[in-house]
Every structure is written in C-alpha cells, then in structure tokens.
C-alpha cells in the first residue's frame, strides 16, 4: 500500500489558541509553544501498530529521526481499539518542517467509523459543496447531534 506523507509544519509558536491534546482519559493542555519546543520526536507505526491483543492504555512511541526532523506520537487504546493519536513532540525549528510517513492512516484504518467519530464534534476537510456535505463525516455528526 502506498503510504501517504504528512507534513507537519510548525508555522509559529506563540498561540492565543488553547490546543488541548487528549492523553489517556483527561484532557491535557498543550500549548503550541510546548509542542514545538520539543527537540526530539517520531515513532513510526511499527512501534504502535495495534493488534487485537492490545491492552487499554496510552502507548507512546519512541522518538525517531526522520530526514526532516524528529517526531514522537502516542496512541490511546480503549476496548482494544485506537481511540486517539497524538503528536507529542514536534520540532521547534520553524525553518525545518517535518515530513512524516503517514502513520495515522494505517492505524486509523483499523477503526470503525463509529469509533472514530464517537468523540468528535466537527470535522475539517476540503468538502465544500452541499452535495459533498451529504457524503461527509460532518453530516453524520450533525445528524447524530440533532436527532
């Protein structure tokens, strides 16, 4: 399978925005500054590829160096399924962005749609037309919220 590539770009550090990344059961406040302040980072999917035997918990991959810099991620497992993927560390050098093998895709592929959307409020994607909306996750979330 051809793996996609995600390029994470730490565009800037200071943020009025409060970005929370969920780790385990409790939301943890992570400011963009603290995320990008890290100097090491990545695990690829081999460290965290889920199997049916996975026990519940939060798994943190090893920091791995990519040609574009170090990245580290963590994956939360609940009821044997992945419930969350977080970027724990991203580079602090704005001049060098990250290209990361798309680890989240193969991981998330194993989840059912229902599991994935269970904790979501909204979805962002390049689906802009009304007809595109009808087919989108956003429409499914809206239906669930309204009904």
């Amino acid at each position: 399978m051809k793996k996609g590539i995600i390029i994470i770009l730490a565009v800037a550090i200071i943020g009025a925005i409060a970005l929370h990344e969920k780790s385990g059961g409790n939301p943890r406040l992570v400011s963009p500054g603290s995320v990008s302040g890290a100097t090491s980072a990545v695990s690829n999917s081999s460290n965290v590829t889920p199997t049916k035997s996975y026990k519940d918990g939060t798994y943190t991959g090893q920091t791995e160096n990519t040609p574009y810099g170090p990245v580290q991620i963590s994956v939360a497992i609940s009821s044997g399924k992945i419930t969350d993927v977080n970027f724990l560390q991203m580079p602090n050098d704005l001049g060098h962005s990250q290209e990361i093998t798309n680890f989240s895709e193969p991981l998330l592929k194993q989840e059912t749609l229902q599991k994935q959307t269970a904790k979501l409020d909204f979805v962002t994607g390049a689906t802009v037309t009304s007809s595109g909306y009808q087919q989108s996750l956003q429409a499914a979330l809206d239906q669930a919220a309204i009904s």
């Binding site: 770009l9 565009v11 904790k119 994607g125 909306y133």
Partner: protein, 226 residues
C-alpha cells in the same frame, strides 16, 4: 443545540450547547445570507459580480465590499502573493469571504449573549468556549472522506482546510496560474478563522511546508497532507 443551514452553496453547522432558541440561530443565518447576497460570484446581481464585470466602480462600492477588497490586498501582500483574490484573473474574494462570513456569524451569536459555540462550514471551523467545553475537531483524510487522520481539541480557536479533493475544485497558484497540486490538503489552526482560511489557501497554493510568508503569522500551525 445544533442546527444545519444551507447557505453560500454549502452546509453550515452551528452548535450552541446552551441555546434552545431557534431565533438565535436564525440571526446568524441571516447574517450569512446577507453576506452571500453581496459577495456571491454565482449571483449576477450581487455587488461582487457587478464590480467584477465593471458595472460598479470602486468608488461606488459599499463599505463592506470596500473593506473586503482592502483586506484581500493586505492578505495578498502578507502571503507573498500566494493568496490572491485575483488568482483566476477576475476578482473573486470567495477565499476570503468564507472565513469572514463565519467570523461574522460568530459575532451575531455572541451579540445575543452566547459565548460558547462552534460553527463549521465547508472545512472552516470557528470554536468558542467560555465554559469548560472543549471542541473536538477531526481532520479528515483527503484520500478517504470517511476517515480522520488526527483529532484537534480546541476551546477557543479556528481551523481551516483547503484541498482539491472535491471533484472539479482547484486552488490556482497565483504565480503560475495553474492548479496547485503538491498537497492533497492543508489544515491550518490558529486564533482567527479569517487568517486561518487565507493561510490554508496560501500554503496549499505555495505547495511548500515552509513558505517565507509564514513569519508574518505567529500563532498559526499547519498540518499538510500529500
């Protein structure tokens, strides 16, 4: 409660957790409709269309359109030309107006006393929270619109995604005048929805994850997928 409206050629989802009053939603919708009437490039009678085909001169424009033109010029300058309302040759401020319209709808909701809400429209999301409400935003996989790649949890902030994964939709690189094709999608997070939306378009058009203009936008972060 949550309501979905069809306006501006897309579906706009509005969630105000502590509101059970339809009238509150309707005022936000009316603001969006007014903006669409004035700024739609699909409506021949809109002010934007009449300006575009030369029936209105810049001196005759409404304050709102004058403001948007001014802001579009500013955004073009700040993005080193990678965001341009003139990318396709004629003036088309849609790339600016969508984010701005959502911002305006948010202000309409806030004016009615509601400070915790979330608006989603065509990939643009404005999240506000005065309480402990955290909005969980999924970033859609551009290769499979039934999947998400990541989740962002935000109390106050904006998220915008640009991409070409709807058939026939292209973002033109203003420099080459050709469709940008390096990325499948670019998602920007930051404090302000108008800026996030402009940046999503500009980073997508630039097709590079570290364009020089980024230094003009502290507080914004991108997740680009290819």
């Amino acid at each position: 409660m949550r309501r979905v409206f069809e306006v501006m050629g897309t579906a706009v989802s509005v969630d105000i957790p502590n509101c059970q009053d339809d009238a509150v939603f309707r005022r936000a919708l009316n603001r969006l409709r007014d903006i669409d009437e004035r700024f739609s490039t699909y409506k021949p009678a809109s002010e934007v269309s009449r300006f575009g085909n030369g029936k209105l001169s810049e001196a005759e424009l409404s304050r709102e359109l004058s403001y948007v033109i001014k802001e579009c010029r500013k955004a073009e300058k700040q993005t080193g030309g990678f965001f341009s309302a003139w990318a396709a040759g004629v003036f088309d401020p849609s790339g600016y107006v969508k984010g701005w319209a959502i911002d305006q709808a948010g202000k309409a909701i806030e004016a009615q006393g509601y400070k915790t809400y979330c608006i989603g429209a065509g990939g643009d999301i404005l999240a506000r929270s005065e309480s402990d409400k955290i909005w969980n935003i999924g970033v859609q996989d551009p290769k499979d619109n039934t999947r998400i790649l990541n989740k962002l949890s935000i109390s106050n902030g904006a998220v915008a995604t640009s991409g070409t994964y709807e058939r026939g939709r292209h973002i033109i690189d203003p420099k080459t005048k050709k469709p940008a094709d390096k990325y499948l999608s670019v998602t920007i997070t930051g404090p302000d929805i108008v800026t996030a939306d402009v940046l999503a378009t500009a980073v997508f058009a630039a097709g590079q994850n570290n364009p020089g203009f980024i230094k003009n936008f502290p507080g914004y972060k991108a997740i680009s997928v290819r």
